[in-house]
Structures are given as structure tokens and as C-alpha cells.
């Protein structure tokens, strides 16, 4: 493990399998990544690419019938794969915390904000109620909620969507976690609130020196907040690397295709057709048969019937899994 960076989470070859009536479903087919303290890793992909299951697998929150396997999942230098449920529960919420997409459904409507914030603290850190309350008030202030003390007595339905998401963030921070996993934290929010929440997350991450994994489908968010990017397609990483490298020179046809789909004020000509990635996400049941993207790829040739054994690595940690040479993959950029 690298010494210079303080690696918080190191995942090697993570797989999730779910038995279904048609056979074995492989929503995550072996992905690897690591994230260091103070670093933001963005996992980006379309619905069904396995990004949310990846986060649940890390937290040990997969549905009962799903099976997780990996070469290693090292969290704070400890392999958490074989931890018992009780030991895992001790990590969850304390050392690793999660922020979910829907602040509407992830807060319990029948408990007050103070109940929900203090619960995790009382359970894991100390049973001193005054201390828990003090921490809750401190964090509500941190996440930008004014008059925190009066908010504590309120119920989730009395708060707006943006405020609820701030409460969720405060809740994740209650025990001072080392790793925050945020699964689409701003999808349900207005654009103006989205910018504020992302701003806040970045600020808190620096303040508390945490590692963050942000899972989203929005490339705009990724470009603005990520240090490292991981583009997922059909349960596999198709491209990864430093944020600038991936956005400035996307090498996998899927990444460049996605980037051409987005209207960008000032860049795409209004009214002109946008780029598209035709077709739909392939069926995830059964074993891999060549490159999963070849049916939607404009550059696909016969060699794509088999998948390259390993990703093509470039100097700066930028890597992509495609049979095409980097020149061929970026050819479409000029078009």
C-alpha cells in the first residue's frame, strides 16, 4: 500500500452476484479502486451499471440473496470481508457513513431531528445525552442550518428538501467518519440547492479530512467535484483516472459518447442534434461475452468479440478497457 497517501479504502476485484430465475445476474463484475484521505472518488454511470450496488456492497448492506466477493476490501488497513455483522455494524455509521439519494424517504418521519441525529452517537460513542446534543447542534451549524436548537425538535416533514439533505449530511458526520459514501446526494434537489450541497460537502470533507466516494449519473457534478473518476458500464470499469484527464481526453468510446450527449451552454449549438449513444444497456445475466459496449459502439469491430485481459494504462493513472487504440477512441471527438 502506498505510503505517501493515507489510503482509507482499497478495493480489489469486487463482484456482486444475484441469483435470479434466468440464471446468475452479475451487476458488478469485478471493479477495483482506492480512495485516500481528503480525496474524492466519483463513480459515474447510467442506471443499471452497478454503481449503487457497489456502494451497498462496501457498506455490507446488500440484499440478502446477493453475494459479494472480492480479492480484498481493505478499510483502514483491515480486511472487512469476513467481519461478522456485529463488527460491521460497529464500523457502519462510525467509521464509514452513507448519504442516500432521497432525503424524503431516508429520514424516519416519526422521530424528531434530534432523535435521529443523536441515536447513532449515543449508540456508538458515548451515552452522554448532553454531549450528543451538543455535537448535533455543532454539526447542524456546520451544515449551514440556522437556529439549530429549534430545528432539533422538528420532524422531517417540517423541513424542505435541501434542509433534509443537510440533516442527512449532519447525521453521517455525527461520529466523525473516515469515509463518506454519497449515493446521488443531490438528484432530488433543485439546481441552486444542488450547488449549495456540493459546495458544503467539499468544505466538510476538507474540514474533517475524510475520504469521499460520490456516486452519480451526472457528469457535470463529477467534473466539478472529483479528484478521481471511475466510469462504469455494465458492472465493469471502462475508464478511470484523474478527473482532468478523463474529461479532457476521454479514451473509452462510452465516456466520449456520454460527454457528447450533454447540452453545454456556449458549446453545443442550440437546436442542433445532440450526440447520442444508441441502444440500451445489455442484459447482465450470464458470463461476459466480449466487450459489453460493442453493440452500442460506433467503432466496434470483430476484435471487440473478446475483451482485453487488462486495462490499457497510461502514465498518469489514466486507464481504459477497450480494444481500440487511444487514437481511434478519441477520433470521434473532432467530428
Amino acid at each position: 500500500m502506498s505510503a505517501e497517501k493515507d489510503i482509507v479504502l482499497d478495493v480489489q476485484n469486487l463482484k456482486v452476484d444475484i441469483p435470479v430465475s434466468a440464471g446468475m445476474l452479475h451487476p458488478v463484475r469485478g471493479i477495483s479502486f482506492s480512495v485516500a484521505r481528503g480525496e474524492t472518488l466519483c463513480i459515474v454511470g447510467e442506471s443499471g451499471c452497478g454503481k449503487s450496488l457497489t456502494s451497498l456492497a462496501l457498506m455490507g448492506l446488500l440484499p440478502k440473496n446477493a453475494q459479494r466477493s472480492a480479492d480484498r476490501i481493505n478499510f483502514l488497513d483491515q480486511d472487512i470481508q469476513n467481519l461478522k455483522e456485529r463488527e460491521m455494524a460497529r464500523l457502519r455509521g462510525v467509521k464509514m457513513a452513507m448519504i442516500f439519494q432521497e432525503p424524503m424517504t431516508s429520514l424516519n418521519p416519526s422521530y424528531t431531528i434530534s432523535n435521529q441525529l443523536e441515536e447513532v452517537y449515543l449508540r456508538h460513542i458515548s451515552s452522554n445525552r448532553a454531549e450528543a446534543r451538543e455535537r448535533a447542534i455543532f454539526l447542524l451549524g456546520k451544515v449551514g442550518i440556522s437556529s439549530a436548537e429549534s430545528r432539533l425538535g422538528q420532524y422531517p416533514h417540517q423541513l424542505s428538501g435541501g434542509l433534509r439533505q443537510r440533516v442527512m449530511i449532519a447525521m453521517a458526520l455525527m461520529c466523525g467518519p473516515d469515509l463518506i459514501i454519497a449515493d446521488e446526494p443531490t438528484t432530488a434537489l433543485d439546481v441552486t440547492i444542488q450547488a449549495q450541497i456540493l459546495h458544503l460537502l467539499a468544505e466538510l470533507q476538507a474540514d474533517f479530512d475524510m475520504a469521499m466516494i460520490l456516486i452519480t449519473h451526472d457528469l457535470g457534478i463529477v467534473a466539478r467535484v472529483a479528484d478521481k473518476v471511475q466510469v462504469m458500464y455494465a458492472g465493469l470499469t471502462v475508464e478511470e483516472g484523474p478527473c482532468e484527464a478523463v474529461f479532457d481526453t476521454p479514451l473509452h468510446p462510452y465516456t466520449s459518447g456520454l460527454l457528447r450527449c450533454i447540452p453545454v451552454p456556449g458549446k453545443t449549438a442550440p437546436g442542433q442534434p445532440l450526440g447520442t449513444v444508441p441502444g440500451i444497456v445489455p442484459n447482465m445475466v450470464g458470463e461476459l461475452q466480449g466487450c459489453m459496449f460493442r453493440n452500442r459502439c460506433e467503432h466496434a469491430t470483430d476484435v471487440c468479440e473478446t475483451l482485453p485481459n487488462s486495462a490499457t494504462q497510461l502514465a498518469n493513472g489514466h486507464a481504459f478497457t477497450c480494444r481500440l487504440s487511444p487514437d481511434a477512441a478519441t477520433r470521434s471527438e473532432g467530428a
Binding site: 439546481v191 450533454i262 453545454v264 451552454p265 442534434p273 445532440l274
Partner: protein
């Protein structure tokens, strides 16, 4: 600049009475507060704003689903009162945000698309199948999905079904309420391209309601920005995106996250609190969140300043003009 308006609202207001709790009576909520908007024939008008600003209520008024408390809705220049709901529905059709909940899960695609024909008894029943197939071709779906059910289709395909259903009556105006926000980016671009193609092919008029300003900029000819029941700025899309004048429009524009890794997350300077529409702020309703708030903004509501085709409601403009 004389353009024929396919659809127009003049000084429309819509007030709901909101229950304040047991024995506490009701209070007025001005969901739409004196809005005038013209949708010229063959053009795309974008309507943007945060949730709760009244854009969906305005859409419902335009669709004839909600009676305005005051003001007039004009269809091709004639008052809505002279038309029946049935007639309005033939000319104006909606496309909703979530194709997962806007299609009846127990009906086949054929039955969903042909429902407007059956309701309005258009043409001979023998022709309905043919019309459904024509529509499927038009929106780029294979004919075999006619026998499928919504659950068998992907999100993008469902949204195409919703578009086919809206178009089968050959309406003049389509009201798209967040047509792509529930979809993936690769599907979003397909649907936006389809809407553009259909518009050219059929000469449609769109009202695009969206909070995604990048989408609005791409699609719209004219854009109206709504805040707390009022249109605070309205201009041609190119003008509005190049030189916004209202501070709220500027904040909205700055919060668009373009995929540019060299920029950070913007600081919109907006406070956290979207005001309570039951108890709106005094003066300019935007003043508590405005970075350029002046004394006059707290006391007096700004009057619309019209500069050619550019309208804005802000004291900053009044000061600049006077």
C-alpha cells in the same frame, strides 16, 4: 414584432386556500400571481424556476386542468371560456416528467396510445390500429411494442410512448413538464433530438418546463424565469443566456454544472431558504436571497421593465433606466 400566439395567458393568477390546521381557518397561497406569457406559434418557450415557484400550476392552467382565479387564457387569440375542455385537450397535450408513473401499467402500449382517439371518437375504430403504428414509427419505436406493457419497456422507450400518446390527436401545442429529468443522459439526448425532429416535421409549438437550464438553452427560442408565482425575467434564449439581467437568473445560470473539470462548484450566493409562498416576503419576493439587495427592494415590489423583447422585474433595472 407581430407573432401569432398559439397560446397566451394574460395576467393570470391562481390562488389556493391552504388549511392552517384545526379551527385555524385558511390562508391564501398565490401559486401563480399575475403572470402574462405568450407562446408564439411554432416556437419553443422555456419556463424555468425552482420547485414550488408555480411552473406546474401554470402548466395545468394552460392545459385547462386548473381554472385560474383571475385573468385570461387565450387559445389562438380567443378566450378559453368559449372552448370546451374536450376541445382544449385536442389542441394541447402534455408530456410528463416520469414515464414510470404517467403510463397505466395494466394497459398495453396500443391501448395507451389509442386512448385519446377512443375518448374523442376520432375516425373509425378500424383505423385506430393503423394510427397507432404510424405514431410508433414517428417516435422511433418498433411496431411490435404495441402489444407490450409499460413494465417491459425502458425509461426512454416509455417516454417515447408518452410522446406518441400526446401526438396522436395531432395537437398544436405540447406542454413538456420536465420531459427528460427522470432519464439517463444518453437517453435524454435521444428524447431531446426526437422532440426537435418532431417539431420541425409537424410544426409543433412547445412549452418546455425544466429546471435544467442547459436543456432549456438547447431547446428554447424564448425563456421565462419564474420565481414565487411571478415571471421575473423573460427574453430570447440567446439574450437571456448571454446577458441575464435579474440576479435570480444570474444565480440560476451560475448553478448549471457543465462538465468542465477545470471549474469548481459554483457559489450561487443564494441563501438556503426558499420563502414560504403562504407568507411571501415584502417588496420584491426575491430580496431575502438577493446578493444585490437594496433598501427599496424590501419595501416595494418592482414593476416590469421592458426593453425591446427583454422583460425583467428588478429594482436594479429601474435604477439603471431612471
Amino acid at each position: 414584432m407581430k407573432e401569432e400566439a398559439a397560446l397566451e395567458v394574460v395576467d393570470v393568477s391562481c390562488v389556493f386556500r391552504v388549511n392552517q390546521g384545526f379551527m385555524k381557518g385558511t390562508k391564501a397561497l398565490h401559486a401563480v400571481n399575475g403572470v402574462s406569457l405568450k407562446i408564439p406559434k411554432g416556437k419553443v418557450v422555456g419556463l424555468v424556476g425552482e420547485s414550488g415557484c408555480g411552473k406546474s400550476t401554470l402548466a395545468n392552467i394552460l392545459l385547462g386542468l386548473q381554472k385560474p382565479t383571475s385573468g385570461n387564457v387565450l387559445y389562438s387569440g380567443s378566450s378559453a371560456d368559449s372552448f370546451s375542455q374536450r376541445h382544449i385537450a385536442r389542441r394541447i397535450q402534455p408530456i410528463f416528467q416520469d414515464p414510470y408513473s404517467s403510463l397505466n401499467a395494466t394497459k398495453s402500449i396500443k391501448s395507451i396510445i389509442s386512448l385519446p382517439l377512443r375518448v374523442h371518437r376520432v375516425g373509425a375504430p378500424a383505423d385506430w390500429d393503423r394510427k397507432v403504428y404510424e405514431m410508433l414509427d414517428l417516435v422511433g419505436l418498433p411496431r411490435r411494442v404495441a402489444q407490450s406493457f409499460p413494465s417491459q419497456l425502458s425509461g426512454g422507450q416509455r417516454q417515447r410512448v408518452a410522446i406518441a400518446r400526446a401526438l396522436i390527436m395531432r395537437p398544436e401545442v405540447i406542454i413538456c413538464d420536465e420531459p427528460t429529468s427522470a432519464l439517463d443522459v444518453s437517453v435524454q439526448s435521444q428524447i431531446l433530438n426526437l422532440l426537435q425532429d418532431l417539431r420541425q416535421e409537424l410544426g409543433l409549438t412547445y412549452l418546455m418546463i425544466s429546471h435544467n437550464l442547459a436543456v432549456v438553452e438547447h431547446m428554447a427560442d424564448r425563456v421565462a424565469v419564474m420565481y414565487l408565482g411571478r415571471i421575473v425575467e423573460e427574453a430570447d434564449a440567446a439574450t437571456l443566456f448571454r446577458a441575464p439581467s435579474h440576479p435570480y437568473t444570474k444565480a440560476l445560470l451560475s448553478s448549471v454544472l457543465t462538465p468542465d473539470p477545470h471549474l469548481g462548484v459554483p457559489d450561487t450566493q443564494l441563501g438556503t431558504v426558499f420563502p414560504n409562498p403562504i407568507d411571501p416576503p415584502s417588496g420584491c419576493s426575491f430580496h431575502p436571497r438577493c446578493a444585490a439587495c437594496m433598501d427599496i427592494c424590501r419595501e416595494q415590489a418592482p414593476q416590469p421593465q421592458i426593453n425591446g423583447a427583454h422583460m425583467a422585474e428588478c429594482h436594479l433595472d429601474t435604477a439603471a433606466a431612471g
